[in-house]
Assembly symmetry: C2
Homo-oligomer: 179 residues x 2
């Protein structure tokens, strides 16, 4: 079952992505392709109509922006999501947090190792089950999460601006219908 395969190609970085967060966009791929196209412009009309392709590219763009913003905190999107969920659900065991985030438990181990190494999260012994660990944030972890939340809120605001009035909520609602 190749649930995990596929190399969602799509533009990840390099040329196409270098525009960063500038809200000033001169021409979209669509426009460039329809504008009688120069001799070297490729016809991408087939792809632009594909929801999956647009989804992939948009996701990469947003994640790239996220990573750039969070570089100062040295947090990846995955790490941020882990801190967030632990913060909102302290005391839960690894398996629960991992499952909630769709992370395989084996892969979650090293993620937690790293967060623990950086003094952001802790594995406390569970009082009721000697197998499991109760995950909590340290003070430093909570502090970092607070800063991260603020940064994330800022990104969300800028995205909302890009998306126009009500666009953000509309987008999230539409995305929700795909899951």
């Amino acid at each position: 079952m190749g649930v995990r395969k596929s190399n969602r190609d799509v533009a990840s970085s390099t040329e196409g992505m270098r525009r960063g967060r500038s809200t000033a966009r001169s021409a979209t791929v669509d426009e460039a392709e329809e504008a009688t196209a120069g001799p070297d412009a490729l016809d991408l009309s087939g792809l632009n109509a594909v929801v999956g392709y647009a989804l992939r590219r948009a996701q990469l763009a947003v994640f790239e922006d996220f990573i750039a913003r969070f570089a100062t905190l040295d947090l990846t999107p995955a790490q941020y999501s882990v801190l967030l969920v632990i913060g909102n659900n302290p005391g839960r065991k690894q398996a629960e947090i991992a499952a909630a985030l769709g992370i395989q438990r084996p892969n979650f181990v090293s993620m937690l190792d790293e967060l623990e190494r950086r003094g952001l999260a802790e594995r406390l012994p569970s009082a009721t089950d000697r197998r499991s660990h109760a995950l909590v944030l340290t003070k430093a972890g909570s502090a970092l999460l607070a800063r991260a939340r603020a940064m994330q809120d800022e990104q969300e605001r800028e995205l909302a601006q890009k998306l126009g009035p009500g666009g953000r909520e509309m987008l999230v609602a539409l995305l929700q219908r795909l899951m």
Copy 2:
């Protein structure tokens, strides 16, 4: 997969009652919720508000569906996109096709190797530049692409149905604004 399915946002609880370690009461409250070994749901409200998270999950869901559909054709999303772009732009060189798809040229080599091995695409010598290859689809490649297109159209229709009237176009338009 990487994404859990049933993530009821619920939220609730707001962790006001999150017992840290004090098991002054029977810990049954923790486990006696669901019979399926599922304790009470976690609070994921923080994540559900994040555009990037919704984007990632939706993209994974759509790609997973795509992969399942295309299993009979043995085509990944990336391979489909390559066939599509070559088909719409025959005779272009590798670097152009790769760049259009955001694929690094080194990574594009093995992708083409595979498509060529399967007799779907061909590297023809360029008449004007002995360095470059002119990429084209074979007959088999065109035939497969036609079948793939039909499948893709079907997925698009089902997505449109999920998204409601005008939802698909709205979604694509919003996604376009993020890139």
